[in-house]
């Protein structure tokens, strides 16, 4: 009886170790140690990156003599407090675009899990045959660097002195900023009701803004309550306009009689810096066939923006907001260095888009 138990436990242990080994991607690496196809070469590279074996991945590049190792590592592990520094490569899909005897092009879709949710990245990789093995030819794009210089920044900064706890009842506080909802549009999506619109800070001081909404049924009872969460630019400078989006999952428009909007604004300390330009915006179809709004972000200040967050509002021909989409950018924004971005648009909405407007939210570690 005792020996049977020992055998069962041993087998279970071996099985569990095997599962763990398989889950860690080691089996894949073992199988693909010698990449016999271009896809296998890319999978091997990505499996090593997923295991954070950057040395091993770098050693597998066909042109590692031309590729700076730190730059290669930073492409996947992030730098300057960017979103990728709070992310892990969870999985990837790999498929060939075209293949020859000596060269091939392989597309990889990388799925990261990040501190703010999933993030996808699509990369087209050139693969070359070296003897019997295929190796990835990593693009040699030396990261643009700004020459050492002083960038004078003298934008406004607002500080707030609030009423103290020991002050008398009669000592009034500084008023909250005046923020107004400019528009609201309720849209039925296949699995949800979405409220989109814009809000403006009408005041002469910065505001920390959040928009909430309560759906009421035909008997004026509350159906659901949600807020814009991160689908809004929370810190609004004077006269700045932000799009917002509020999602109500599993809701039907027919059930809703009215919507009660609630905009909350707090007086906060803020700076007018950094100014981020959104250049070369255009609606296009990405390599996977999805409709996207793409462009470039340019940080015009001298300070690094760690995690940029793009929020785009789309308008129909009547100027009505018909959709709001957002996306986090994996790279940090270094001064004067353009960084590309793209945010999705549902295809049924994309065909009605007449114009659009992009704002950039930013999260900086030194302000956290």
């Amino acid at each position: 009886m005792k020996s049977t138990l020992a055998v069962v436990l041993s087998i279970a242990t071996v099985v569990l170790i095997g599962i763990a080994w398989y889950q860690s991607g080691a089996s894949e690496q073992h199988e693909l140690r010698a990449a016999a196809t271009p896809e296998q070469a890319v999978r091997l590279l990505l499996s090593q990156i997923r295991a954070r074996d950057f040395d091993g991945a770098y050693a597998r590049l066909a042109n590692r003599a031309d590729v700076d190792k730190d730059s290669f590592v930073h492409e996947f592990s992030g730098s300057h407090g960017s979103l990728l520094t709070y992310a892990n490569l969870e999985s990837y899909d790999v498929w060939g675009l075209h293949s020859g005897d000596e060269q091939a092009m392989v597309r990889a879709k990388l799925h990261y899990s990040t501190a703010v949710g999933p993030l996808d990245d699509i990369r087209d990789m050139k693969v070359e045959k070296h003897g019997d093995t295929w190796k990835v030819q990593w693009p040699v794009n030396p990261a643009p660097k700004l020459p050492p210089q002083v960038i004078p920044v003298n934008y406004l900064r607002w500080d707030v002195i609030n009423r103290g706890a020991e002050d008398d009842w009669g000592v009034q506080n500084v008023d909250s900023p005046q923020v107004r909802i400019l528009s609201m549009n309720a849209i039925q999506r296949p699995d949800s009701v979405v409220l989109v619109g814009e809000a403006v800070n009408e005041d002469s001081v910065p505001a920390y803004v959040n928009v909430g909404a309560t759906l009421l049924d035909h008997d004026q009872r509350e159906l659901a309550q949600e807020s814009s969460f991160d689908n809004i630019s929370h810190t609004l400078l004077p006269k700045q306009v932000t799009p917002y989006r509020i999602d109500f999952p599993d809701m039907r428009l027919e059930r809703i009689k009215s919507v009660r909007m609630d905009v909350k604004a707090l007086l906060v300390s803020a700076s007018a810096d950094p100014v981020i330009a959104v250049n070369q915006q255009k609606l296009e179809t990405d390599p996977l066939g999805k409709k996207v709004l793409s462009g470039e972000l340019l940080n015009e200040s001298g300070e690094i923006v760690n995690i940029p967050h793009v929020i785009a509002a789309y308008y129909d021909s009547n100027g009505k907001v018909i959709w709001v989409s957002d996306g986090y950018v994996a790279q940090a924004l270094l001064p004067e260095i353009p960084v590309p971005f793209a945010v999705d648009i549902p295809p049924d909405i994309a065909k009605n888009v007449h114009t659009y407007r992009v704002v950039v939210n930013h999260y900086d570690t030194h302000q956290a």
Partner: protein, 283 residues
């Protein structure tokens, strides 16, 4: 609740018994001492039940009972009760607020656009030294003390302890002090009168080494006040490459941005809900 019931019983007993008589003044002033005449003889217990306090004291019936001003700081209805060996007697009296000597001044909003008709609400709550709301009070003197201009003041009557006035903000931006005074109290609040919406927002563009430098004319409201620095002007440029948008805060009265432009481009600007002119450049 457990303490209220014995008091009610005590008060009821006092009303019904009427054995020892008290003669307090029918009205007193908060913070002032009073003397209550009593009748009867022997040792008695004196109770004074006020709106926010109760005192109990052993006294000699038939002699005057001195009540210190400290025990009469809260205005309202008091009941004096005297219980002797032959029962209890009671008498109510009123304590009025003392002379107005404190103010709570509420001024809203703390920032107001210029030329807002009745845009500023000024409310003064009048109290005596003991925080009793002074229901009857002489008028409150409201003052406006603008910077670099002569102060203006006016009296407003107090109704139920409250006096108020609505003011129209000036046409010129800047801080102004709003004051209210009564007795020794003199409270001041600061209201910031800020420029209203931008008026006639105009942009112009000049070539620079990388494209165009697009700049607003000095941004002012319709009264001619410069819109405060930090106010955002949104520039939008469309050229052959795509569209560019930049939210630029006003600095030293103007907002400006360098835009690399390929081919012909249309540039426009907006601040909040105000839109400016449109430029066509390049070519």
């Amino acid at each position: 609740m457990s303490k209220t019931i014995p008091f009610l019983i005590l008060v009821a007993a006092a009303w019904s018994a009427r054995a020892a008589d008290l003669h307090p003044p029918s009205e007193a002033t908060a913070g002032n001492s009073i003397s209550i005449l009593t009748s009867g003889s022997g040792k008695a217990t004196f109770y004074l039940i006020g709106p926010a306090s109760v005192i109990k004291r052993q006294v000699q019936a038939g002699s005057d009972i001195a009540v210190d001003g400290d025990d009469l700081q809260n205005s309202g209805r008091y009941i004096a009760i005297l219980c002797g060996s032959d029962g209890c007697g009671s008498s109510p009296f009123l304590v009025n607020p003392a002379a107005p000597n404190r103010l709570s001044l509420q001024v809203h909003p703390s920032r107001v656009p210029v030329a807002s008709v009745n845009g500023i609400s000024v409310v003064a709550f009048v109290f005596d030294n003991f925080h009793n709301l002074a229901l009857r009070s002489p008028p409150v003197k409201f003052s406006i003390l603008p910077k670099d201009e002569k102060p203006v003041s006016a009296d407003r009557p107090v109704e139920n302890g409250v006096a108020w006035v609505r003011l129209t903000s000036a046409r010129k931006q800047g801080t102004t002090e709003i004051g209210a005074a009564i007795g020794h109290a003199d409270e001041i609040r600061v209201v910031q009168q800020v420029a209203a919406e931008a008026c006639n927002l105009r942009i112009h563009a000049n070539r620079d080494k990388n494209g165009f430098l697009v700049e607003t004319d000095p941004v002012r409201d319709c009264s001619g006040n410069p819109v405060p620095d930090g106010t955002v002007v949104s520039f939008t440029m469309s050229d052959a490459v795509g569209k560019t948008t930049v939210d630029v805060p006003i600095k030293r009265g103007v907002a400006k941005i360098a835009m690399p432009i390929k081919g012909r481009a249309r540039i426009s600007a907006a601040s909040g809900v105000v839109t400016g002119n449109e430029l066509e450049v390049g070519g």
